[in-house]
């Protein structure tokens, strides 16, 4: 194999002109032709900045490279032939970079929903890339190339799709279009920055397969950035592990994943939920805390001038389940299956259309919001996004004390503050957090504070809506252990909404699989994960990227 991209001692510093922060501290790696190099690391480890440095896409005036070289070999247009001299990307002028980007190096970003221009048709956007890099093509030839590119990424009915706008496509299809756009000029190197992170596992599996296939067919080199070791195992030939801007370990994928040398790599792999040690579970014999009976949430679809209701979107369509004391029920499903709506409906944050919500034997479906208020103490919620789950204008102490005051817990504010401090200790946060504001905490810490807020009213039942999805694996491991401890020690009941099968395997006692608003399979976690009965569960489990191919979770 021949060298394609050579990063040599790259140092990237970000800043505002006066203060500089070292984001990448001396990274050296080589991408060979036809090879996939994965960069793994937690958020802030500098893996995206490395990719952006290669592309020269960092914000103007906000970065500098005190050291290092990035060289791209084979600058020829046909790409297959080994070029004589290598091109220094860091020293290249703007015109050269424009010529290189798109033509020699393609790039795919994380968020398919915002990477396409919503006011241009897909065909126009693809055609624009061609027009820039291959101006000699005629209009007809260009249109043919666009359709061919879309067919190559298996967009059905490509001729028609090329005339449509991005909003008509699903997330997975948009990511396919992005791949088509990155590949349309047949680049020698493809840089993919978390291209499947925003996608469902089944879609992710398809996209990964497609990328692998296109890469082998074209002999491209690929620099693939991800935080997911499962994805690494699926796609990488070589893997580099980054920590705080440095490449701590780099080697063939099998060696790094199965015999990691560096302690950081080892700790990362050990923190994967499927590797966390599971304690012995007492089979759930607690009393039923919450039961749903045929719960349905339908959203009206309004059309026309008079906004008449023409149809209903059945977000949740007749779901029955129950959560007992001292157990975690995991609600699994892909995006849009109605799991979050279900969570909000059972808390009466959204009004259910039909069915019953029974909280400790009491039907609360038709309670007025006033009658519901005292009962809110018994069921609490923790949300997904640590950035928005705490009021940014209030110190933590106010957030924790106010609900206690409303529900008459504690005699005076001093006692309530003492209780709040106690709670912080229980979620493993320092007591001085009380007097600080949410923006002073990291994502994982905020999620712990959100859990403290949920616990403040001493609920019996908590809904956790994707609480660890936005967190790094090592942080996620801490939160999961905390939740499990709370369930085991205090006999809480938790409805844990997630799309991550690994988390389900570690945390939950029972699993509920949802598809398009309905529960398709329900049962003990091990039972469902080992011997899925429903076809959809089987597809879902097969699509989950795992470290060991074919291994059971």
């Amino acid at each position: 194999m021949a060298k394609l991209l050579e990063i040599d001692g790259l140092v990237t510093e970000l800043g505002n002109g006066r203060d500089w922060v070292r984001a990448v501290a001396g990274v050296s790696l080589v991408v060979q032709r036809g090879e996939t190099v994965c960069l793994v690391g937690e958020s802030g480890s500098g893996k995206s900045v490395t990719a952006l440095s290669v592309m020269g896409l960092l914000p103007r005036g906000r970065f500098r490279h005190p050291q290092g070289r990035i060289r791209l070999h084979a600058e020829r247009a046909d790409g297959t032939q080994e070029g004589g001299e290598a091109l220094d990307l860091l020293g290249a002028d703007a015109a050269t970079l424009t010529r290189i980007r798109g033509a020699r190096i393609g790039m795919i970003f994380q968020e398919p929903m915002t990477s396409l221009n919503p006011v241009m048709t897909i065909g126009e956007q693809l055609g624009e890339v061609l027009q820039l890099h291959r101006p000699e093509l005629s209009d007809a030839a260009r249109a043919a190339r666009v359709v061919a590119a879309l067919e190559e990424v298996r967009i059905p009915d490509a001729v028609q799709r090329a005339k449509e706008y991005p909003h008509r496509l699903s997330g997975g299809q948009r990511q396919r279009v992005m791949i088509a756009m990155a590949l349309i000029c047949e680049p020698a190197l493809l840089i993919a920055d978390e291209p499947t992170t925003a996608l469902d596992v089944t879609v992710q599996a398809e996209i990964l397969r497609l990328m692998r296939e296109l890469q082998t067919r074209r002999g491209m080199g690929m620099l693939f950035i991800t935080h997911d070791f499962g994805v690494v195992a699926q796609i990488a030939d070589t893997v580099g592990v980054m920590q705080k801007g440095a490449l701590v370990e780099c080697g063939p994928v099998a060696a790094v994943l199965h015999a990691p040398q560096h302690p950081y790599t080892r700790s990362l792999i050990a923190a994967l939920p499927e590797h966390l040690p599971r304690g012995a579970r007492t089979p759930g014999g607690g009393d039923t805390l919450l039961a749903l009976e045929d719960l349905a949430v339908h959203f009206p679809v309004r059309r026309g001038l008079l906004r008449r209701v023409v149809d209903h979107f059945r977000a949740v369509d007749g779901v029955s389940l129950e959560v007992r004391a001292g157990e975690v029920l995991a609600l699994v499903g892909e995006s849009g299956c109605g799991k979050t709506t279900l969570g909000r409906a059972l808390l009466r944050l959204i009004e259910p259309t039909a069915g019953r919500v029974v909280l400790q034997g009491q039907d609360i479906t038709r309670h007025s919001s006033r009658a519901l208020r005292p009962l809110r103490r018994q069921m609490q919620v923790v949300f997904q996004d640590p950035g928005s789950s705490l009021n940014p204008r209030l110190p933590i102490v106010t957030t924790l004390v106010e609900p206690m005051r409303v529900h008459g817990i504690g005699r005076d504010d001093a006692e309530r503050r003492a209780r709040a401090a106690e709670l912080l200790a229980r979620v493993e946060m320092p007591p001085d957090s009380l007097w600080r504001y949410p923006h002073e905490f990291s994502g994982g810490q905020r999620q712990r504070l959100a859990i403290a807020r949920a616990l403040v009213l001493e609920p019996r039942f908590i809904v956790c809506d994707e609480v660890t999805s936005a967190l790094d694996v090592s942080v996620q491991a801490g939160i999961l252990k905390l939740l499990r401890r709370l369930v085991d020690e205090q006999r809480l009941g938790i409805l844990f909404i997630t799309h991550n099968i690994g988390v389900v395997a570690y945390l939950s006692d029972r699993v509920c699989v949802m598809q398009s608003g309905r529960v398709v399979e329900q049962g003990a976690t091990d039972e469902v994960l080992q011997r899925p009965r429903h076809a959809y569960t089987q597809v879902l489990l097969a699509a989950v990227p795992r470290l060991e191919p074919g291994a059971a979770p």
Partner: protein, 391 residues
């Protein structure tokens, strides 16, 4: 429990970001200057001497003749100074200030009873007769309504044109000193700006907040209400009211206030619609917190930023509305106002430039200052323009 010092609150951060901009400092300085002038107007421009000794008797006619409104302005200023020293959140102190202001108003209107008959000529006669032993006059020794009858038929005079008297900015058609009238008119300009905008903001927050939080039917009704009020031409309504009910500065404030809240309501509604789906609001609902707490404690402070920006532009437009009305000759009858002086500039046969330049310049500078502050505030509350990399 150990009291750890609280970190910099958000309001302090915005203020710091605001003061970092030269334009904002300039605008705030001008507004602050006007506020000081408005507060101490009766001590700055007054025919009544600040201190005099006549036939061995010391007195302060200026203080004795302060009206209830004068006491209110100065009382408000004094209260603000005192409350600066009181610890506690800004909102609480602002509430205390309003409360104190109401108390001062009650006291002032209950107790202050100045003589209604004012003979300005008396002091000049006294001075001429040589009975005054000691005299301290205001920097501009003319009251805004002192028409200088004792000097005969004076009328309009250009700056520094009169003999024996010094009128820095000339006199207006009745013979009153323009500088004095301009000083006293700052009260009208500031008062109408703040009170009209205050009324508009309160209505806007309540209506917009309810629309945004409840959405659905409430939103639909609220939006129609907003559209109705947006269709009312403020100036025309003001003219109608002036025609029917006579002229009153308070009526003007109220009318400008209740016709200009629609913009604020739209801002608040949009913010609340966005905030309602935020997790921390949902969590507050799930905690069973009462509605006022959710609306005003958890949502409003997070949606205040665009409102502040709009308000600073709103103050400017309220000042302009009053000036326009006064320019059309429908403002206050006898009380000074910048717009009214502009009107006088063009009323007599000749163009009296000093009546156009000085009040016009004051209006321009004030509106400009508010716009500068609004512009800078918009940047200060916008997270994108703040220094990045802190997270």
């Amino acid at each position: 429990m150990t009291e750890v010092t609280a970190p910099r609150p958000w309001g302090r951060q915005v203020l710091a970001a605001l003061l970092r901009r030269a334009s904002a400092r300039l605008g705030l300085a001008w507004i602050g200057f006007l506020v000081l002038i408005a507060i101490f107007a009766p001590l700055l421009a007054n025919t009544h001497p600040l201190y005099m000794v006549v036939d061995g008797q010391a007195s302060s006619p200026a203080l004795a003749r302060l009206e209830a409104l004068d006491w209110l302005w100065m009382g408000g200023f004094g209260l603000a100074l005192v409350l600066r020293l009181v610890p506690g959140p800004f909102v609480k102190r602002f509430g205390l200030w309003l409360l104190g202001l109401a108390g001062t108003a009650a006291l002032a209107y209950g107790l202050a009873a100045p003589q209604t008959l004012t003979v300005y000529e008396r002091y000049r006669e006294l001075e001429a007769s040589g009975r005054i032993e000691a005299l301290v006059r205001a920097p501009i020794p003319y009251s805004p309504k002192d028409y200088l009858r004792d000097f005969g038929d004076t009328g309009i005079e250009a700056p520094l044109a009169a003999s024996g008297r010094t009128h820095w900015l000339g006199t207006e058609e009745n013979g009153a000193d323009v500088a004095s009238r301009m000083i006293h008119a700052t009260r009208v300009a500031l008062g109408i700006g703040f009170i009209a905008t205050g009324i508009a903001i309160v209505i806007g927050i309540v209506v917009g907040g309810l629309m945004g939080y409840f959405s659905g039917v409430v939103d639909m009704i609220g939006m129609r209400l907003v559209e109705i009020f947006e269709a009312i031409p403020t100036l025309f309504l003001l003219l109608t009211f002036v025609a029917f009910f006579g002229r009153s500065i308070y009526m003007m404030m109220v009318i400008i206030g209740i016709t200009s809240w629609s913009g604020y309501a739209r801002f608040v509604r949009a913010e609340f619609l966005k905030l309602r789906d935020q997790d921390f609001v949902q969590a507050a609902v799930a905690c069973g917190l009462p509605l006022p707490s959710i609306l005003f404690r958890h949502m409003l402070p997070n949606g205040l930023a665009p409102l502040l920006v709009a308000a600073s532009f709103g103050v400017a437009s309220a000042i302009l509305a009053e000036a326009t009305l006064s320019f059309l000759g429908l403002g206050l009858v006898d009380d000074p106002s910048w717009g009214q002086m502009l009107n006088q500039a063009v009323q007599s046969s000749s163009f009296n430039w000093w009546l156009a330049v000085f009040p016009g310049g004051a209006i321009f500078l004030t509106v400009f200052a508010y716009n500068l502050v609004g512009e800078a505030l918009r940047d200060a509350v916008d997270p994108h323009t703040q220094r990045g990399g802190a997270a």
